[in-house]
Symmetry: C2
Subunit: 361 residues, 2 copies
């Protein structure tokens, strides 16, 4: 039985931003980071939600994230920018990059910003989805520290680099894909480990690069399995190329682990691309077509035991609608940590501790 607290999203945003602000992040940037984290919690993607605040603060405290980064445009054209993120918080760097991309996109229908020297930016989908409001398709990627071996390898050498793709629709929610390039995230394997369960073939490898069903073997010197083997590997390589190699950023062993290398900069890279729909089609017409496409996919006869067909990202939008109304269910451990971080920073938490309902799940 885990205990959950019901927290209003605005409360969570206010407190998270205040904690960041008290830790040296300027007010506007604090709100940017808080908005990204709370959006993930709203969408049910709690792995990228406020539970990340603690590690961000730890790294800020260790001075391996810069609270006031200087961004540097290394190179630019009408449609492209190479940006150095100055080792700022990933969300601060990414909001700057996306805003820059929107300006570029006004001049050039297909534009891209590649970013080096950044940090964890939360959920990739949060950035890709911002572009759909402007009748654009958004493509966002990030590299991360080595977590997967290439096929035939015994140890991790490449990140399970996430890819997001967002498309505006008409009456429907935007289509928003957000996927890591491993079969499953490490969290799922840690979860099985904590329950003493075995994991299916194809999730992880042991320290010899052999497939294993024992989560302990994955966690102790093993690695994650690329989704579809060579396919996930190839996609992760593509992400490395567009993020780190185009920006002359860090790759493979040059990237440090967010959680394990607490005294070294993370040094990850991102890639943001905007595709303006009006270069190809009238945006209203395009969105009608997207709606027809969604209707077609969702009309697929259901498999036994299935209740509905969902488009990529649809479940997350449904979660967000529900949680905006009812509040976010946060596990007790996350709330306790948040209260502790707030108290350390001298932030008032009465709204968090005073008004929340306690539930048993």
């Amino acid at each position: 039985m885990s205990k959950f607290y019901n927290v209003q999203p605005e409360t969570l945003k206010t407190i998270s931003a205040a904690i960041l602000n008290k830790n040296g992040i300027p007010e506007r940037e604090s709100k940017v980071v808080a908005a990204s984290l709370v959006d993930a919690d709203l969408k049910g993607v709690s792995s990228h939600g406020v539970l990340r605040l603690a590690i961000y603060l730890k790294r800020l405290g260790n001075k391996v994230i810069h609270p006031n980064p200087e961004f540097e445009v290394i190179k630019e054209t009408n449609s492209t920018v190479v940006l150095d993120g100055g080792n700022g918080l990933g969300q601060v760097v990414s909001q700057y990059a996306v805003d820059l991309l929107k300006v570029k996109a006004q001049q050039s229908p297909i534009s891209a910003v590649t970013v080096r020297n950044s940090n964890h930016f939360g959920a990739a989908a949060y950035w890709a989805a911002q572009l759909t409001d402007n009748d654009m398709i958004g493509i966002v990627m990030s590299n991360v520290e080595p977590l997967m071996p290439p096929p035939g390898g015994a140890s991790a050498k490449i990140g399970n680099n996430p890819i997001s793709f967002a498309v505006p629709a008409g009456d429907h929610y935007p289509i928003v894909l957000d996927m890591a390039t491993s079969s499953v995230p490490l969290g799922k394997i840690l979860n099985a480990k904590s329950k003493g369960e075995s994991i299916p073939e194809g999730w992880g490898l042991n320290h010899l690069g052999q497939s294993t069903t024992d989560p302990d073997e994955v966690v102790n010197g093993g690695s994650l399995f690329p989704v579809g083997g060579p396919k996930g590997y190839g996609l992760a390589v593509m992400v490395d190329v567009l993020t780190a190699l185009l920006s002359n950023g860090a790759f493979s062993d040059q990237i440090h682990s967010m959680y394990n290398d607490l005294d070294k900069p993370n040094s990850i890279s991102h890639f943001f691309m905007a595709i303006r729909i009006d270069a190809f089609s009238d945006p209203s017409f395009f969105k009608q077509i997207v709606d027809q496409y969604i209707t077609s996919i969702k009309s697929t006869p259901l498999a036994q035991g299935a209740n509905a067909i969902f488009m990529p990202g649809e479940i997350e939008f449904l979660n967000k609608e529900k949680n905006e109304q009812n509040g976010i269910q946060l596990p007790e451990s996350v709330v306790k940590e948040l209260v502790q971080l707030a108290e350390q920073a001298g932030v008032d938490v009465s709204e968090l501790t005073g008004t929340t309902a306690v539930q048993n799940n």
Copy 2:
């Protein structure tokens, strides 16, 4: 024991082009198609090689592929084109699109051509790799007829739409990813069926949308499984958006099967994108970085039983080098069919039948 014939690539190209030419395809276009097919055979990707000639000719004969398509630019900007392929052979349409893309890319560092009303274009990698010669990154996609259900669906509604990504390197081969978005292609399941073998979980679904290990159930009303479930599904949706939805082309049930719907146009769509490296970095410097990256990946300690780490596309380049020297090993069935197609078209096949060595494998 299958019988193989050793055929010189130039012979194969000459005969394939001559057969196409005699079937009403202009000389230059015949060579374009032949070059794409023989390149696949050289690379060991025989599923996309000259064995496809028969179905192309069948569809040309049934007048559901146009031998002399009229291309129409539906809309264009400095960096984008929407092209109607006029129902031409996929390779003829694609070579036109890639050539157009190279012109656009001279003006705009990131350019794209989206194409509707086309046909099977061979291996996606063949088109993406053409861009690496011009210091560009190439991204190429195509949609295909429904072969996979969305997660929760019982029947096929979306193609196992391929994605290719090609990057120039310095001393190394270019990095060339080419992947379908299903776990495996249908050919692998047909292969297991012909041998009476079962297939692993995660390859295919039966007609109720349930996972099956019986290849018969996949072939008889079943469907292919998207690689990684929601991930392969999401990637296939992304391809549909960039190919068919941006070009106002056909999608899902509007696409007809190349092999089953012999009297209806295939109506598939493609997407071609070029990213000019000089917009981000000095191309020579970039290629050095790519080489360093490749060296880093290939230095991963080997898993037990593995002999080497390969970059995406590397095995295909090694095959090509070997086969350019030694000739292509074609199965007897493919050679017989080719001889038959040549004789029907009045093409001299003495070079094919006269000089080839017969081998037992």
